[in-house]
């Protein structure tokens, strides 16, 4: 039996695989996906950028609306002031028109209506 066992040991020696074997195995190894927290980190970063950009736009829009409101209020105030002034002028004009005025011209008194 010993001779047979020796012959088996000789016949069944290890052999190396063809060259490049390890490289071919590595080429078949699936690329490992990034850990979950890494994937969520990039999603969170994108979301944060979007939130900041949206907030900035909202702030700017709100500021413009406010400015427009203030301009409109100022415009209204100006218009009412103008209307007031015009009505006062008209009242003065009417009063002048409806009243008689004595104008002294030299020594003669001229009486009449304007």
């Amino acid at each position: 039996m010993n001779e047979l066992e020796d012959r088996l040991r000789e016949a069944l020696q290890r052999r190396e695989p063809p060259p490049g074997f390890a490289e071919r195995v590595i080429a078949r190894v699936p690329r490992r996906r990034a850990p979950v927290w890494t994937r969520w980190r990039s999603v969170a970063a994108i979301a944060a950028v979007l939130v900041v950009a949206f907030s900035a736009l909202l702030f700017e829009w709100h500021r413009q609306v406010e400015r427009a409101n203030r301009a409109e209020a100022a415009n209204r105030q100006l218009m009412s002031a103008l209307r007031l002034a015009v009505s006062k002028i008209e009242r003065v004009e009417n009063r002048v028109a409806n009243s008689s005025v004595v104008v002294k011209v030299g020594r003669d008194h001229v009486k009449g209506e304007l």
């Binding site: 047979l4 016949a11 069944l12 190396e16 074997f21 390890a22 078949r28 190894v29």
Partner: protein, 180 residues
């Protein structure tokens, strides 16, 4: 390459270090490929099977506890895959030992063809016996280690090994008688 070194490579591979995994492949490729080759006696099939074994290892890296566990895992998975492969390709399998043609010339130790013929005879053994003979004489495992690798009782390993050797010896002796 020591078991400790393989263990260190294992730790780095689990962390995702591809070069460490390549190191594991290089350290064990000879064992895995040789078992597959002796079992299947087909270089292409042996390489394909060996690659599949390493890919399965990659998928199961986290379950491997140590360098020694890794080596025994590779051995066990390789043998099991070889047995499955042989069972699947029964129709194109090598002829059984009883039908195997006698070697054309006496198998003396000086004969360069002797090892080739002996390997053919081993490859024609039933799957379990073949696995035991390969692990015993190629991997130099003792019956206890073979029993662990194949998940069978030590006594079963011993009896199957004894039967396989008797079968091989009978075949060779018949040949020598014919020659004389």
């Amino acid at each position: 390459m020591t078991i400790e070194f393989v263990g260190a490579l294992l730790d780095r591979s689990v962390q995702g270090d591809a070069s460490a995994f390549a190191g594991i492949v290089r350290a064990n490729q000879s064992m895995v490929y040789s078992v597959a080759w002796s079992f299947l006696r087909d270089a292409g099939l042996a390489e394909e099977l060996a690659q599949d074994v390493f890919l399965e290892l990659y998928r199961n890296l986290r379950q491997i506890e140590s360098g020694a566990h890794l080596v025994s895992w590779l051995r066990r998975v390789t043998v099991n895959r070889c047995i499955d492969r042989v069972r699947k390709r029964k129709r194109e399998a090598l002829t059984s030992l009883e039908d195997a043609p006698e070697p054309a010339t006496p198998a003396s130790r000086d004969d360069p063809m002797a090892s080739h013929r002996l390997r053919r005879l081993v490859a024609s053994l039933p799957e379990k016996q073949r696995a035991i003979v390969i692990l015993r004489y190629q991997e130099d495992l003792d019956p206890t280690e073979i029993a662990e690798a194949l998940e069978m009782p030590v006594n079963t390993v011993k009896s199957k090994l004894h039967r396989a050797l008797a079968l091989l010896r009978g075949k060779l002796e018949r040949r020598e008688e014919m020659e004389s």
